[in-house]
């Protein structure tokens, strides 16, 4: 098992490496380069642009920039020293060995062009809200999709099943951002106005989420703070999960129907097991095998869905950070965010494979 996981991790390295090249390539190939954002500003002269480029190391050849960003080398040094870290070991080795601290390989994504902060700081600050949103959404998504799919399979062609089919078609066709807008109109517009239209906390009651004051407030009134966030989560989570539930409930249904048709289900019935045991022990366990893989493959959509949802609901997470960084041509932040989310996707796929192997005894490592 451990061996298998390690092997899969090693296999993931070229993919992750490829991702860094693609990410870097996309951003650097942009016309005008990183100074394009100054083009509209008459007060910024060529001179200032050059200074800016030099300050960010953008005057170097692109491969050098890439290697430096990755942490393969240390362009400040001279000669072969460029590739050697402080301890005398190659620069790309982990920090404890090489002593190097620069570049992605050493957990350093550089500085944000727009705010001057460390990219890490900005990402870490935005990560918690996204994890909360995505985590709750993942939970709701799985529970609802599985329950709906199983129920629809057991009561095939029932009214519920037909309603679920219609929901699946429409839900699958619905743009997430539009659903968010409509839900805000519906529940936070002048008519009903019962749910918050955006944000993560009630600004009149609590300090901004994530600030030092917030944690003080949280320590004092944890229940109120939690219910406040929960209240703000309702619409974004709903928005985020509809598409996934629409697709997966059908998938679970099909998989469950297939399992219910298998010979071993007939055996289980012939043993005299109650219907519940037959369905939820014998059939469901088998029906979950393809579902687990499918969910692993769908994790990227949770990310993109989070970007969409966060934008609509002003959720202070990675999605909003991305949109802001895109708007400001903030390369280092975008590269950090893209690379981290791609890594998470690769990990999620790995996790799905491992989970699949755990629940299917036929798979050996």
């Amino acid at each position: 098992m451990t061996k298998y996981i390690i092997r899969r991790m090693i296999q993931a390295i070229p993919v992750l490496f490829g991702i860094t090249i693609v990410v870097y390539g996309i951003l650097l190939a942009a016309p005008g380069g990183p100074t394009a954002k100054f083009n509209q500003n008459p007060r910024i002269t060529e001179e200032i642009k050059e200074k800016f480029k030099k300050a960010w190391g953008l005057d170097q050849p692109i491969p050098v920039q890439y290697c430096r960003w990755m942490g393969f080398c240390n362009p400040e040094n001279v000669g072969l020293q460029v590739f050697i870290g402080e301890t005398g070991w190659p620069n790309f080795l982990p920090t404890p060995i090489s002593g190097a601290t620069n570049g992605v390989l050493h957990g350093d994504f550089g500085f944000s062009i727009s705010s001057g902060e460390l990219v890490n700081t900005r990402i870490v600050r935005a990560a918690l809200p996204t994890l909360i949103l995505a985590g709750v959404a993942l939970f709701v998504w799985l529970v609802v999709a599985i329950l709906m799919g199983v129920y629809a399979a057991i009561h095939r062609y029932s009214l519920f099943d037909q309603a679920a089919t219609v929901f699946a078609y429409v839900g699958f066709a619905m743009p997430t951002f539009w659903l968010g807008i409509m839900l805000i109109f519906l529940f936070s517009g002048p008519g009903l106005n019962i749910l918050p239209a955006g944000g993560m906390t009630e600004t009149r009651l609590s300090p901004p989420f994530g600030s030092d004051e917030y944690w003080v407030y949280f320590g004092q009134k944890p229940l109120e703070a939690l219910s406040d966030v929960g209240w703000h989560l309702i619409l974004p989570v709903f928005t985020l999960v509809v598409v996934n539930i629409a697709g997966d409930s059908r998938f679970v249904r099909a998989s469950m129907l297939e399992a219910l048709n298998q010979d071993y289900v007939r055996t289980a019935k012939a043993k005299g097991l109650p219907g519940r045991t037959v369905t939820f022990k014998h059939a469901l366990r088998n029906a979950m095998l393809p579902v687990v893989t499918n969910i692993g493959l769908e994790i990227p959509f949770l990310f993109t869905g989070a970007i969409v949802t966060e934008t609509i609901f002003s959720w202070p997470g990675i999605g909003r950070l991305t949109i802001a960084a895109t708007n400001q041509f903030d390369y280092p932040v975008l590269m950090g965010v893209l690379l981290i989310s791609a890594t998470l996707v690769v990990l999620a796929n790995l996790l799905a494979d491992v989970a699949y192997a755990v629940i299917d005894p036929r798979i050996k490592f």
């Binding site: 010979d263 071993y264 012939a270 043993k271 005299g272 088998n286 036929r362």
Partner: protein, 368 residues
Amino acid sequence: MTETISATPPLGAPPDRDTLLEVRDLRTYFRVLDGTVPAVDGVSFSVGRGKTIGIVGESGSGKSVTALTIMRLLDIPPAEIGAESEVWFDGREILRIPLNVMRKVRGKDMAMIFQEPLTSLNPVFTIGEQIAEQVRLHLKTSGREATDRSIEALRLVGIPSPESRIKQFPHEMSGGMRQRVMIAMALSCEPKLIIADEPTTALDVTIQAQILELLKAIQQRTGSALMLITHDLGVVAEMVDHVVVMYAGQVVEQGTVEEVLLDPRAPYTMGLLESIPSVEKRGGRLSVIKGVVPSPFNLPPACRFEPRCPYAWDLCHEEAPPLSRVGSADRLARCHLHTSAGDSRRGAALQQHIDAMRVGGTIRDAPA
């Protein structure tokens, strides 16, 4: 899911105490796109306690559907059971009891072994768990006891070192081993009736003999009744007391194993026997029954065997033959040869079969 018969006409009298299973006029239909098809069409037979019965017939003759109906394992709909049908088991009519009562019968008093050992075990549970689950349920034992009983059952079916085997998954065993597990599972609660639906069809020839021997030994040891479904008359000869021959959803002949095999009366049974290779028939060509079992969608108008029958004449095309007595009370055959209309032809037909059995030969086409 209502899996019981809708209408409940007054039931007939229960069979006597020695009869474990009595099937009366069993009719099972399948609702399909263009109407309903009769897969089992008026089948009756009975099995005494501790006795063995063989149900024989070609593929598609309705043997499995009969067994599944008795076990109440068919989904209703698409299946439908005739309102006049009755199945008496251990003194009780079981087609009409609620499904949750039937569940207490299934696996405990009446167990079934399926045709497909490779797919009949759940791939994600250990075989120990799959047997113990049933024991815990029916015998209300603790987990520990259930495990011991599972090991005992596996030992009984001749699986070496059952203590370690219970931790294995089905895919780690061969087909023959898996069928042994199925048998162990079936006998784990000491059922009164074991229904074995072609338990060896999917297995290698050498394994087949072992499994059949095992079944027989276990049946004798535990005193269970055995209903063995097969298309192989050779198996029947070795395994059972009583034979029911089915064709296209109907019983065409029944009697003791000696009567049916040595003195068959229905042309279908004769054909089946003539197609078995044997020492006496050396020299002649082995015959096969031409054609295939008609689909229940498209049955011949009168005698269902008529298109394939070498003895058929015009009457066979006009009127369906009844199941008539050809000896003692439960010695029956369905053929016009055994009604008064067939008096003149009966002798010749029987003689023709005897000749065919002696020298081998093809069954001739029906006279035009």
